[in-house]
Amino acid sequence: MATLSPTIPAQVPATSRGDRGNRPPIAGGGDGGRPDPGLPDYSGRLRRARLGLGIALTPILMLFVSFTSAYVVRQGLPTLDPTTNQVVHDWLPVQLPTALFLINTVVLLASSVTVEFARRQFARKVALEPLQSIPGVSLGADKDFPWLGVTIVLGIGFLTGQWLAWRELRASGFFVATGPSSSFVYLLTGTHAVHLLGGVLALLVAGSTVVLHRSLVSRRIVVDVTAWYWHFMALLWIYILALLELAH
């Protein structure tokens, strides 16, 4: 797994850094070691894409942190009932389709496993691509196993399962506007589903070799980044499920 490259001490002539020259010349700098920060090689591109993903996950996290704080506040919120001039708590617990949610969780976790296999598969493919012509070099027994395809199927399976869960909610009489608790169930699961759909689409793009003429390296990077994103979505789902089940 690529790591941030170590800084390489550069021979920098002593100049002012606000410290009146009392400290030794600074080591490193931008990306010391790489010839051109704008057009890095494969490992540089991978590193940059992963850095970008890490940063991108922050606002997604903030979105759900924000929803969580609204959830917590709303749950505990006393509201003035003008008829009695009393403050009451009107949080009506939702009858969650727990069984369906648990099945969906298993599906999602399985897809996390398969996407991880896909990620490693692509990494191996890229690493060994130059050596493919050498007889005896193997890309592994599973080199053609469609881990990516399986993940996409499982991802769509999860989304379908969520749709079924919503149907069960509606059948039990819990719609979006039934009460604050049900609003949050739809809100949290719906927003998560939208983000997961984004991940499914990214995997579809990565998997469409023929149509898009993308190089193996580019596709590997997309799969790698999407796989980490996918793991994040799985963890996020577990968190949402825990919040809904335990804090209702």
Binding site: G18, L80, P82, N85
Partner: protein, 271 residues
């Protein structure tokens, strides 16, 4: 150019400061018990901030004139800063800002941390698009129930608040369009709103509080001067926000009692 810049900066500073000192457009005369301490905190803040304002602007004007390049071939004095100076002025600024805040905090605590006293004059103030209604609990000391489904603003008075006639406590509630309170007695206001957020603001009383739908907010102030004071809505509430004003009349205790009694008598007659 450097001198013009200095002159303009100094002039703007001095002219603006003049109007703050001259108080040409200023706080209305304070008519509540809290006014003296609040106005004092204003004064302290104005003096401290005023000194900084004038000093900083004058320094800026001075420096751009004094250190202008005017054909001299010398270089600027090469310096990356002065850590000691940084520490000194940072410390002083912290002391000033935090100190200013802490001196004002007891006043905030006195106004807001404690509930109203037991024998305060209680008035429920309800804001709705675009009028203020005031309700007094009457001799029984209890506010009757209101129901949103009974609200009918076009009828005014009790119906505008949705007062439930079936509740016995409602029978002696007085609903008015003018807020009248006795002088030198604490007033407890219970702020409510029907539709959107409004805000009850009486500049002379140094009193403001948002009226939020879904909440009944208890606040208090003590009027100390007899007179009529305008109430302005201070939270954007729709197209009529600018004309949602009311009147607060501060009268003697006996006048207040008569006023309440007159209203009670009216209510008896109607029933």
């Amino acid at each position: 150019m450097g001198f013009v810049l200095l002159a303009v900066i100094w002039l703007i500073t001095l002219i603006s400061t003049y109007f703050f000192i001259a108080k040409t457009w200023w706080l209305p005369a304070g008519a509540s018990a809290a006014a003296a301490s609040i106005d004092h905190q204003f004064a302290v803040t104005f003096v401290l901030m005023g000194v900084i304002f004038v000093a900083a602007q004058m320094a800026l004007g001075y420096l751009v004139w004094r250190y202008r390049a005017n054909g001299s071939t010398g270089r600027a004095s090469y310096s990356h800063g002065n850590t000691k100076l940084e520490i000194i002025w940072t410390t002083l600024t912290i002391i000033l800002f935090v100190g200013l805040n802490l001196i004002g905090s007891p006043i905030w605590a006195a106004e807001r941390f404690r509930p109203a006293v037991g024998d305060a004059t209680r008035v429920e103030v309800t804001g709705m698009q675009f009028a203020w209604y005031f309700r007094y609990p009457g001799p029984d000391g209890k506010f009757g129930t209101t129901r949103p489904e009974l609200v009918d603003p076009s009828s005014g008075g009790e119906a505008a608040l949705g007062l439930d006639p079936k509740d016995p406590a409602s029978k002696d509630d007085i609903v008015t369009g003018i807020m009248e309170v006795p002088v030198n007695r604490e007033v407890e206001v219970i702020l409510r709103a029907h539709d959107v957020i409004h805000s009850f603001f009486v500049p002379a009383m140094r009193f403001k509080q948002d009226a939020v739908p879904g909440l009944a907010i208890h606040m208090h102030f003590t009027p100390t001067d007899v007179g009529s004071y305008e109430i302005a809505c201070a939270e954007l509430c729709g197209l009529g926000h600018y004309k949602m004003h009311g009147i607060l009349k501060v009268v003697s205790q006996s006048e207040f009692d008569e006023w309440i009694a007159a209203h009670e008598a009216d209510k008896q007659q109607q029933q």
